[in-house]
Symmetry: C2
Subunit: 683 residues, 2 copies
């Protein structure tokens, strides 16, 4: 819970601009990539050249983890600079281009509240990174990589003084490995990416209606019957934990109960609240199978399970889910109803609390702190339980007021395909928080949640990245680091750097498009998907019913939440219609509209003969109509002539049709075309 005195970048910029020490342009280049923005940055004059003589020295208390981290950072530097650098680290600090001083190694397995702060001083002669712990040094090394710049004179690090620490101690990414199993390499590359943007918790969602993904040696029938063979062996689990620890990242498992439990009761129908038998669920949604909280067999099994998992997972926190239990099986079960009556339990929520209280005993016995979704919240629970909020800041604040620590995920549901900006503005502790200082400390941070109904190993990176970097910044940087345009600018740079780590979020997009057309020429399709986005929220399934076994290789799977042609078109229209501008320029809009027409026309015959694209045929037609409407509007605007009666209404009606989603995709430029129509006038 470290809240630093406010010292924002913007403040620094203002001061520097006033003193004129650093020109705006220098500053632009130098700070181009910092994401998350550090707590304090003071730009200086000068630069530290990076060439093949670049070396690193370690001093103070150091460990294997740090040496390996430095090794990997050097390889990434090599990849970017195409220079062969030293493979070892020096012991002579004075000779090193980068000197890293760590006072202690810190915890070998990261813990909540570990000191992640660091200082970075870069001058013409040396970069000096100082941290209390190995993990702090890791965070600083990522900043060093983001500072790398190049110009006519070569590569360099700009002179700077950075004093950085996180705003929140819990900065997570939840990966749902249950609905769609994600192989080891997916987890590893995403852990690398998390470290690159200074996230520190992998919340690993391991059991669901659709799959039981963790090997249990004590109860092997659980994973054997509940996973189609797609589970993580305990060796693999340990490998992930070790890989994460080497990057300063905690791994907290989630075993969702008492609902979301179908995969549990495939092998153990006797602990369900209805007789069964059960099969692994293939559909998305909320399902009835629920553990029976009145059956001692349930607790007997869970006691064994939690004991085993507690020794497998070293983290102090264990997530028991607890969400979306609709209690249908409970309502329908006479014996459960009798139990409730007998014990004076008045509601399903109370029954769930009874269940949680029983589970809590197992967790405590094994030294674990319980965490669960909003639904587990109940003032009578012991205060060490952590609330994970999908409901929002209000629910979180209410829990905090009652003494519970909490983590926010409402607003960070990256599976719902909202653009980065919408996540970016969600603050776990907004400026108007009703909490006092003591209560505010209970808000530990947040987690982006990658629910995996509609992601495959080929597409998951593109759903997580680069948007999660915006959430990472929200959780690390000060509240008033909130310039959306600047966030997008830096997000674009971070996105490319993430590719170094093997992330496929950029490169698999064109791969999917080539597969859809079974050809090299995807230019038309690229234009189209640069203007459409997948439908938001849970509308994809309504539009396009699929199961967990369906291929995720459609056009919607290649599309992304922040369609990259949208920003440009909307800006062009804004500029063109800006009444205050002396240089109203319609040319950029015209050029873009012409591109759309060309793309649409080239696409139509391709789509006619590509059955995998049949579902999207209407989108190509709509693209041509959008272009035509825009062009017509432009002509009226340019000629300053009034459109004929009814033109405006007809076009707006067309646009309403075009705005409707098709193939689970929707155009994100309709509003700007509407603006053109409105600007053309008429009635």
């Amino acid at each position: 819970m470290r809240r630093s005195p406010y010292h924002s970048l913007f403040f620094v910029v203002a001061v520097l601009a006033a003193t004129g020490v650093v020109t705006a342009q220098d500053l632009g280049t130098a700070r181009r990539g910092l994401m998350p923005v550090p707590a304090s940055v003071e730009w200086k004059v000068g630069r530290l050249s990076i060439d093949r003589t670049f070396t690193v020295a370690l001093s103070g208390k150091t460990d294997e983890r740090l040496r390996n981290y430095v090794f990997r950072v050097m390889r990434r530097l090599e990849g970017r600079t195409v220079l062969e650098l030293s493979r070892g680290t020096l012991t002579e600090p004075a000779n090193a281009a980068l000197l890293i001083e760590t006072a202690s190694t810190g915890n070998a397995i990261p813990k909540l509240g570990d000191d992640e702060s660091y200082k970075l001083e870069i001058s013409d002669k040396q970069a000096k990174l100082t941290a209390s712990t190995t993990v702090g040094a890791m965070r600083g090394l990522e900043t060093v990589l983001q500072l790398l710049a190049g110009d006519k004179a070569g590569f360099y690090l700009p002179a700077v003084s950075i004093n950085d620490k996180p705003r929140f101690p819990w900065r997570g990414l939840m990966i749902d490995s249950a609905r769609h199993f994600q192989p080891m390499d997916v987890l590893k590359r995403n852990l690398d990416a998390m470290a690159a943007v200074k996230l520190n918790v992998l919340h690993w969602h391991l059991t669901e209606d659709q799959g039981f993904r963790v090997e249990s040696k004590k109860l092997p029938e659980l994973h054997q019957m509940g996973s189609d063979g797609n589970f993580y062996s305990q060796t693999e689990i340990r490998e992930v934990i070790g890989y994460a620890a080497d990057r300063g990242i905690r791994v907290m498992p989630e075993f969702d109960m008492p609902g979301h439990a179908t995969a549990w009761v495939v092998s153990h129908p006797e602990i369900a609240s209805a007789p069964g038998p059960y099969k692994i669920e293939r559909r998305p949604g909320i399902f009835d199978p629920t553990l029976d909280p009145t059956n001692e067999k349930t607790y007997k099994l869970l006691e064994v399970f939690f004991k085993e998992m507690s020794s497998l997972f070293p983290d102090a926190y264990m997530h028991i889910g607890g969400d979306e239990n609709e209690g249908k099986q409970w309502d329908a079960n006479a014996s459960i109803q009798a139990f409730m009556k007998q014990k004076g339990i008045k509601s399903n929520h109370e029954l769930q609390t009874y269940f949680n209280t029983r589970i809590l005993v197992f967790l405590k016995k094994n030294g674990k702190t319980m965490m669960g979704w909003d639904e587990i919240f109940q003032p009578s629970l012991p205060k060490e339980v952590v609330i994970h909020s999908w409901r929002g800041q209000k629910a979180l604040a209410e829990a905090a007021k009652q003494g519970f620590a909490g983590v926010l995920s409402s607003g960070y549901y990256i599976d719902l395909m909202f653009p980065a900006r919408e996540h970016y503005v969600v603050d776990p502790l907004p400026a108007d928080t009703p909490l006092n200082a003591e209560e505010q400390k209970r808000v530990l941070g947040g987690e982006a949640t990658m629910w995996s109904e509609w992601v495959s190993p080929d597409t998951i990176d593109s759903r997580i990245w680069p948007r999660t970097a915006a959430i990472a910044e929200r959780l690390w940087s000060e509240r008033n680091v909130n310039d959306v345009d600047d966030m997008y600018r830096r997000l674009g740079l971070v996105s490319i750097q993430l590719e170094e780590l093997g992330l496929t979020h950029r490169k698999n997009r064109t791969m999917l498009l080539r597969r859809l057309v079974q050809g090299e020429d995807i230019s038309g399709l690229q234009t189209l998907i640069s203007l459409v986005e997948p439908v938001k929220q849970y509308r994809r399934y309504q539009q396009r019913p699929q199961t967990m076994l369906s291929p995720l290789t459609g056009l919607v799977d290649a599309a992304q939440a922040d369609a990259d042609g949208v920003l440009r078109f909307n800006q062009a229209v804004k500029d063109a219609l800006d009444k205050n501008s002396s240089t109203r320029n319609l040319n950029e809009v015209r050029t873009l509209l012409a591109n759309w027409r060309e793309a649409a026309r080239s696409l139509q015959p391709v789509m006619e003969n590509s059955p995998s694209l049949f579902e999207a045929k209407q989108l190509a037609n709509d693209l041509e109509i959008l272009s035509a409407i825009g062009m017509e509007a432009l002509s009226f605007i340019e000629a300053k002539s009034v459109p004929p009666n009814g033109w405006r209404e007809e076009k707006l009606k067309n646009l309403t049709e075009i705005a409707k989603p098709k193939a689970a995709l929707e155009f994100r430029v309709v509003e700007s075309v509407e603006k053109l129509v409105e600007a053309a006038g008429g009635n």
Copy 2:
């Protein structure tokens, strides 16, 4: 050694065209992707629709390997069609869309000479695949996937009767995991790709001056001291062998000796021919360290090693390298010289044969057949030794004449960056072979060789694929399947299908370019690398000295052997200058030249500020000059005016400069621009 009666596709096409049963267009769609071309194809009228009801039944003798193969084929079909298909196989043949009948399972671990033949009959009602063995069925399933087509009416398989078997029984890809270590996923995805084009041998180059990559439990110091920690554990080796066997692919290891042995003698300097000490070699090239063939310790160690490796690798063949031993250490070693004198050994070649004869004993004792590069050839060796020829068909034929079986790799050195067409025309048994029928049988096939001096896990796929598919066709299909244009057309399709298997040959190219410019806009760079190719042969190192530890992220690493803009420009110039054409059209050439200019101009400022691209700055300037020269020539041609005196000479001189490689890249369009200059006339 199965040579079928000649029945080429071209013959079939001619007959069908004559009878008019199938239109040319239908045929084009239907056979668009078959690569390698089957031994016999008879197209029929009709189509088998593929929709979500598509099912597979297995009958006859079947095994787990085949069921798993079918499962994977179904997932690939799903990926392409975006249809969810059945996960199981049926037992009721009559109901299946695809019926697979296998007479036997064949060898669970593939062997040389396994029956890979299959028949495929597709009608409106059913596709029937018949094979003697599981591996034959695998080959047929890849053909089924290549037959998948789509049109307005949906996906389908065209009606056809295919009777297929390979021309050569040994169709391999050698991967050098020693110079640059390649992780497991690289091997796995390349095995998948090999199976897709019906290759059946992974020749695994595991020891080199630059690395000892196989775990030895008996002599662990070998991999511990010789690999920087980058080696395959025996568990991983078995995993690769199993993965390959599941795809009908043999795995033959190579342990290179007595030369190329630096990594051996890092831990065992006592068996080298000079005292040492030795360090893992980091440079490319041919090095002195050579095992001492006169030292009994050498044989003691190798006996242990070969015994262990023989039980680890089930394949009957074991490759001992034997290449490029220059004998410098032998010449300089008085004790070795004395040994030779004493034994009457007259040359280093004889000494190597002495060494080979001793090794042969170990291999034979463990049931292995020895294979080695040309250098091991010596008429006195027992006839079961297999010669692997990097020298060429003549050397191979000479060995065959003397009774030795052989495999060709000369002409298939894919690391040398020649275009696919150059490999495609190399035939292990050319039409004018001097061998008689008996001797011809000794030519077992060929292997593409991926030497790994300049490939990283990120770039290796782009060096192997898609070109190796052309070599795979040469080794599977009949000799007269040799239409280069048609090969390229099909190669383009296969290339995209290979991406389904996780191959990165296409998608990592743009990733590397984005890293080089640290930005999204790579259009200029894409134009440039579509016109240049990496220098051929061994000139890369001369141009651009690097070591095995250098980053392979430069522009040359993103470039490819068949630059994709070259074909189009050369064709455009050819069309434009075609004197017999009534519609000489200069527009296409002009458009392309204008693109070059635009790309060059946008690139220059980018390159000025991207230190990783400094080495390639001259290429952007050259591109602009190429464009200007081409444009000038066009003007003269169009105006039918004669260029001023000296213009032609000056431009040709410029072009000579431009043709010189820079940054290990060379323009492949200079010749066509020269043609334009010549066509403009003048003197």
